[in-house]
Symmetry: C2
Subunit: 499 residues, 2 copies
Amino acid sequence: MFPYKTSILLDRSLKESLYLQLANQFIVLIKDGKLPPNTKLLGSRTLASLLFIHRKTVVACYEELDLQGWVISVPKKGTFVHANIPILKRRDFDKDNTPYNNVSSGFHFYSNDCLIRKPISSNSNFMFLNDGICDVSLAPIQEITRIYRQIASKKSTLPHLSYGSTYGNLILRDVLVNYLNKTRGLHISIDNIIITRGSQMGIFLASHLLLKKDDIVLIGDTNYISANVSFEFQNANLIHIPVDNDGLVTDEIEALCKFKKIKAVFVTSHHHHPTTVTLSANRRIHLLNLAKTYNFAIIEDDYDYDFNYNHAPILPLASHDTNGNVIYIGSFCKTVAPAFRIGYLIASKDFIDSAANLRRIIDRQGDALLELTFANFIKYGGLDRHIKKVLKIYKARRDLFCNLLTNGLSDFFSFQIPNGGMAIWVTLSNKYSWHSVANTALKYSLDIGDWQRYDSANTKHNSIRMGFANYSIDEIHLLIDRLISTMNEVSLIPDFRKF
Amino acid sequence: MFPYKTSILLDRSLKESLYLQLANQFIVLIKDGKLPPNTKLLGSRTLASLLFIHRKTVVACYEELDLQGWVISVPKKGTFVHANIPILKRRDFDKDNTPYNNVSSGFHFYSNDCLIRKPISSNSNFMFLNDGICDVSLAPIQEITRIYRQIASKKSTLPHLSYGSTYGNLILRDVLVNYLNKTRGLHISIDNIIITRGSQMGIFLASHLLLKKDDIVLIGDTNYISANVSFEFQNANLIHIPVDNDGLVTDEIEALCKFKKIKAVFVTSHHHHPTTVTLSANRRIHLLNLAKTYNFAIIEDDYDYDFNYNHAPILPLASHDTNGNVIYIGSFCKTVAPAFRIGYLIASKDFIDSAANLRRIIDRQGDALLELTFANFIKYGGLDRHIKKVLKIYKARRDLFCNLLTNGLSDFFSFQIPNGGMAIWVTLSNKYSWHSVANTALKYSLDIGDWQRYDSANTKHNSIRMGFANYSIDEIHLLIDRLISTMNEVSLIPDFRKF
């Protein structure tokens, strides 16, 4: 007889009912071939007394196994393992039964190795340079969650909890149309907007609709790395355009247009990412005119429109677009907090319709409750109040950061004070390399971050972005102190990589 | 002199400051060529008196225009429009200045026309058949939003508001590993899970990593339409496999494997979508063994694991997978409410790593606050309580729906009572066509929905899914009454499409 008593272990302390525990253990025995096809199982009375359980438990277990198709109950004859259950084949190295056996796949797939650099240390004493992120401790989280709960408790919210539009919630789209027309000088209607999860989804949707293999997209010779990754993902042909103090050199774009079919130009016109320069007025008009003449799309990622310290924000290219050439992308991830995944993509109606269809495939729809929350937050001035508040704080941090950099580190670094945004474009003296700076900084609990990524076009500009917005005043002092210690040590040792 | 007085309109009732209103109107005049390059602007005193504004307003405006690069201020000479500002080219038909001018794009793109059928009527008196959706009025929304706000008010939540892991929140991953190991008999560790937005994103991630152009994926000859759309999006080769009362016919899969390289098999093993049949025990093992032998992936979409009315749920294929062949996809969109976009994808570690990299490109990361909320909701039994509650209600609705169908419509419809899920697979008598039923139903304020999509393989099964779970008892009575009226009328008219 099969050793039921030693093969089956029931635990009354578990939440799972006894009959299910029993059934699941039978299933393992059957699929492993320990109870082969056609095996007659013990009678319910006999098994019950063997395992010290009630007979009804065994009956329920056998019924369950029958329903699931593992056994067949033949009236007056008994219960039998189903005639044609194959034995489950196991990996040989799994014989010793490691608990987590799925480290590698049993099939081939197209692995995806886009660059995600993990921080070097998770030591809480470490400080991390970043390329310009907001300070989430300033986020109006209490106000937002209060609105969230208010909205959730309204009866009128109920229909929004079911499947919704792939364009995003209609109420938020309506609020955003008004808000963006007023603040950005756009001239859009509700047909021109789709709500996204953030800028990244906007860039993904635009890339996918614009670019197939070998299609040409123009980017700056310094450029926002996440956009590059998106374009490479489409197997597009990325061509680098020089960037100077007035932003993308549009004459170079015109020269290219004359002998190549350009599908799209990616631009962060307000503050070029990463160098923070602003695209000059004449180049803006030049670029728009080129787009009209050569029928290409301008993907305008206006990632920090809200953060200007010296003057009013410059209206985006999209505000001058009368020819349907500009795809305008923005989000609240930098303005409020990255965790609130709400952004938007603005374009001509035909493009928005296609984007909504595409969005259905990748994640179906957005989060209606959060979208309604943001509609309310924007409509009743919460967003404007928040921007006004943090603008002052970030400006003070920029000023302090720049002052300390100038006072303590001008032998090593040069930079221009950015008139907006959350980061400074810092150029290291040619005597030194970021490689040695990054290595030395680790000794002083400072992680310089992924400095290589800023020069993907290999122009040897020797610069990186240093975010300042997310640090408190004390943290800025501490960070600059660590940078000073680092640079003092770096300057004592000849840099072999440079000579 | 340029007619400043009639060209510039300032409105003191607007929130936008006067100097910005003035600057933005100058920008329009400059880019339209009405103030051509090198034009000398009026002195600040003269313009101020002309427009009845303070001189400081004009000075601030000119400074703004200078900073933005539209004009140049030459000391002691005045302010001039920048020498090389091109005139913005406009579309000819925009000369009459339509407010919303972006209906069609000024560039070519690859339009995406996946099928999104819009409901025929938005009349609130209309009832809509669906393919099985949950009743959001039962969703524990107060409990969830209470947890949401609690979490948001904790100091420990702050770091979660910044950029987070593309794998999803670690705390939710940990809770789900325990929950799924306990409820689904899985044997996974935290390395085997990525949090998604819902099942659709899981299917998208899996499709993209598994399938390139012409790669073979096997699907049922009836199949979940959203999965088909995802596979077609990758330009994969979709091959239909027969589905009978025991689910996918695995012998047919084995026959195919012998002469073709199969990349993946899509299966909704628990209740086949759309027919609701359960994959039998021997076919489960057979399919797993085939996957091991022929190294293909099984994409298991366990969309309604939680809803079983007759017996305990059947453990998913993933619980028997020891070879890393199964990619297991689930979500809480059907269990709680579609608006809460939380799902998961379970697979071997190497596959999860690639999925996390891919996810970074499409929408970067999930919503940390909502993910933490669900971690809490699941960990402290909220989800289990909710499932227990709705299970009883849905079972009663299924029973009523099936009884009324049998009593009033058995001349027209045949079906098997599903032992789980939220829908019934209803076959229309061959004497009639869904085409005429759908047309007639409109007269009785009933929208049959997109009946064509259920037979994408053209097997002429003449069946559709009828969801029952989202209707109240009264609504079920009303819906069946309308169906009866519809069928009584349909049966009076010969169906020309059939003869």
